[in-house]
Symmetry: D2
Subunit: 239 residues, 4 copies
C-alpha cells in the first residue's frame, strides 16, 4: 500500500517558533503550512515552502479562523461568506509565497477549531469548499472520513483526501475519541506505529497526520514512518 | 493625450469604512486596493474587485507596512527581506480575491509611509521590487517620477508607471512640496483641475492619483475627471 | 423617576471612526468605552474619557471578546480563565486612560457577542464577573434583567444595574425579541420614546441603552432623551 | 554594594513561549513583564505576576511599540502623543494583571527598538516619560546611563534607575558597543561575571540586565548572580 504522511509546519509567528520544521520535512510527504491567520508570517511561509520544495514535499494551505491569540484553536462564529473569503485569501497568500519558492499549493486542510467544526457544520464546511474553489476549483481537501466536509466537497466536485490520526484513539464507530477522554491521545511508539500500519493497510485513508510540536513528537513521527516502511508500505504523496 | 486615473479603494476594515468606493469606481480607471496590512479584509477586497471588474476598472495591489493601527502611515524599520516577503504575500492575497471576482492584479503601488520611503530608500525600494517580481516578474510599479523606486525598477527590468498628484503643490524642481508646508495640499476645484490638465499634457506622468476619503474629495475627483475630458484628454488605463 | 442613559462610545480604531462621540456625550449620562479588543485605541480612549469627564458623564469599560476584525460581534469559544484575564486587562487599561483624563472607570458592560453570551452562559458570565472583581470587587455590572450574568453577579456580591433597550421589541415574557425577527428593531421616534418612558416608569431597569452609530440614531437618541424629560423623568447616572 | 538584577519575562503570546520564566524568576529581583504590544497576553501576564509575587520579585512594565509581528524590535515612527497614550495603556493593563495577582507595577522599562530610540530621541523619550507620569507620577524609569531618557526623566522629576549590561561590550566612552560589531555580545561566563562585578562595584548603575531567552542564557544569568554573591555584592531590588 501507498500512504501519504502530513504534518503541520510553519507554525511560528515573528520570533516565536513551534515545531522543528526541518526535522518534520525529512519525515512527511505533505506539509500543512500556516497562512497567517493562526500562525505563519510571510518569511516563515516562504522559508518552509523552500525547504519543502528542496525535499520534494508537497505544500498544503493550512487555513484557520482569524485567531492569532488563540492559535486557531477556538471556535469563532464568523459568517460563512466572510469565512469563505478568508479561506481564499489564505490559500492565495500561501500560493504566492510558494511561488516565490518555486512551488505551489497542492491541497487545503483546515486547522484547529475550523478542522473540528467542518466535520459537522455544513455552513462552515461549505464556506471552506467555496473559498477553496474560488481559488482553484480542483484543489483537493483533506479531512476526516465521514465528515460533513468531505461529503459536501464530494457533492461539489472537489477532490477529497481522507486522513487518519495514528496517535489518536478511535471509537467503535470509527470516529476520533474526544481529546478530553483519558487515553484518547497516544504517545507510546509501539501503539502509534501499529495504528499507523493498520490505518494504512485498511485503506480507508490516503494520508496519515503526524505531530511534531515537541521533540518527543518528532521522535514519534520518525518511528511511525520507520514502522510503515518496515511493514512494507510505500510512503508517497497522495495522488 | 491619454491619462490613467488611480485612487485608493477598499480602505475599510471589518465594520469600519473609509472612502465611498462605488463613487470613486465611477471616476477612476485604476483602483489601488488595500491588501490587509494597513486596511482591507477579505470580503471588502473581494467586493471592491467585483465592483471594479464590473466597471472595467483595473486592480492594483496597494501594499503597505504591517500597521493596521496606524493605517500604514508610519515608517516601520522592517528588515528588507521580511518586507520583500510581506509584499509578495499582499499581492498574492489580493490576486486571489481578484480571481474570485473574475479579474486579477494588474499593477502594484506602495501605500502611505512605504510610498514615501521607497522614493528615497534603496533597501525598501528593492524589497518592493523583488517582492513584486517574486509574484509576477513583469507587473508594473506605480511611483513618483524621479524616485529611487522607479529608477531601481527600471534597472531590474520591471515596467514602471510615473504618476502625478493634481491636488499637491510641486516645487520648482518638480518634487512634491511637503504636506506640512502651508498651501501644499490643494482643495480648490479650479486649481486641482488645472494642475491635472497640465500634468496630463506635459506628458511626464501616465497616471494621476485622485483622493476620495471624504465627500468633498469625491466631488473634487469628479470635477478633475470632467476637466480632463473637457480639455480633450482621453481617460484610459495606462498601457 | 430617575433614569440613566448609556451608549457605546470610542468605537473607532486608528483612523477609522464609528459613532459621533461628542453628540452622544451631550445626550447620555454613562459612556460605554471600547477598550481595544473590539475597537478603541489608546488616544481614542483617552480623548473620549476627557470629553466625558468635561461633561460629567460616567465611564464604563465596554469589554469584548478579542476580535477587532469582527468588531466583537462573533461568539469566540475562549476558555473562561483566559476570558477572565482579558476582562481584567481591558478594564485596567481603560482605567489608566481614564486616570490620564482625570476620571476613572465606574462600571463594566459587555459588548456585542459577549453581551449576548453572558445572558445565558454561566461560564463566560462567571469569567466576566471574576475578571471585574479581580480589578475592583465592587464595580457594578450592567446587563439584561433576568440574565444569567446579573444573577451570578448578585450571588458574587457584585452590584448590578439592569438596563432596557427602548429601540428593541420585547416578548410577552419580557425578553428581547431576536434582531433577526422582522420588526424587532424600532426606528420610529414616537415608538422608541414611548418605550423609553414606559421602561423608565415601570422601574425594572435603572438604565436605558441608546444607539448612535449613524446620524439618524443620534437623532433618535436625542428625541428619546427629550421625551423622557417631557414625561417628567430625571436623567441621572445610576447610583 | 547592593545591586538589582532585572530580566525580560512573560514574552510569550498565546501558545508561543520565549524564555524560561520560572528559572529567571529564581535569579532576578526585578521582572520586566511584556504588556501585550510586543508580546504578552493577559493570562501570561497574570501568571508571571503571580510567580513574581510569590518570590518577592518586583514587577516592571516592559513597554513597547505596537508590533507583535516584529517583537517590538523595529523602530516605528509613531506620533509622540499616540506613543504617550500607548505607554499609559500598557502600564495600566499590566498593573491590572499585577493587582489580580496581589501585586503592582513598580517601575517602567522600554523594550527593544523603543529602548534604543529613547536613548537619543527626545520626542519618544518625552512620550515615554509623560505616558508613565499620566499613570503614576513617581514611577521609576529604567534606562541607560547618559541616555536622553534618563536626563529628561530627571528634569521631569521622575525617579530614574541606571542599568548596565554585563553581557555587552562597552566603548571607551562608556556606551554600549553596537550589537553588529563582532565581539560586542559576550557569552563567556567568566567575562560576563567579571563585567557584572565591575559594573556593580563601580556604582554607576543600580541594576544589571540579564538575558534568558535560551537555556545557555539562563545558565549565564545564574552564573552571573553567583559571581556577584561570591564577590560580596548584595542582590536586592533597587530602592
Amino acid at each position: 500500500v501507498s500512504i501519504d504522511l502530513n504534518a503541520d509546519l510553519g507554525e511560528g509567528f515573528g520570533l516565536w517558533r513551534m515545531a522543528d520544521d526541518e526535522a518534520l520535512l525529512d519525515i512527511v510527504t505533505s506539509a500543512n503550512v500556516a497562512c497567517g491567520f493562526h500562525a505563519g508570517d510571510p518569511p516563515t511561509m516562504r522559508r518552509v515552502c523552500s525547504l519543502a520544495a528542496a525535499r520534494g514535499v508537497r505544500i498544503g494551505a493550512h487555513v484557520s479562523y482569524r485567531d492569532l491569540a488563540g492559535f486557531g484553536r477556538r471556535f469563532l462564529a464568523v459568517e460563512p461568506d466572510e469565512l469563505r473569503d478568508e479561506i481564499t485569501y489564505q490559500i492565495a497568500a500561501l500560493d504566492g509565497m510558494a511561488r516565490a519558492a518555486g512551488t505551489h499549493v497542492s491541497y487545503v486542510k483546515a486547522h484547529g477549531a475550523l478542522y473540528n467544526r467542518v466535520a459537522s457544520d455544513p455552513h462552515h464546511a461549505a464556506a471552506l469548499i467555496e473559498g477553496t474553489r474560488a481559488f482553484v476549483p480542483d484543489l483537493p481537501l483533506l479531512g476526516l472520513p465521514g465528515s460533513v466536509l468531505l461529503s459536501l466537497a464530494d457533492d461539489a466536485g472537489s477532490p477529497t483526501v481522507a486522513e487518519g490520526y495514528p496517535d489518536r484513539r478511535y471509537t467503535a464507530a470509527g470516529l476520533l475519541a474526544p481529546r478530553t477522554e483519558p487515553g484518547s491521545v497516544l504517545s507510546d511508539p509501539a501503539a502509534v506505529s501499529s495504528n499507523a500500519v493498520q490505518l494504512a493497510e485498511r485503506g480507508a485513508v490516503a494520508s496519515l497526520c503526524l505531530h511534531g510540536d515537541n521533540p518527543a513528537a518528532v521522535e514519534l513521527a520518525r518511528a511511525t514512518r520507520a514502522a510503515l516502511l518496515a511493514a512494507g508500505s510505500e510512503i508517497a504523496a497522495f495522488s
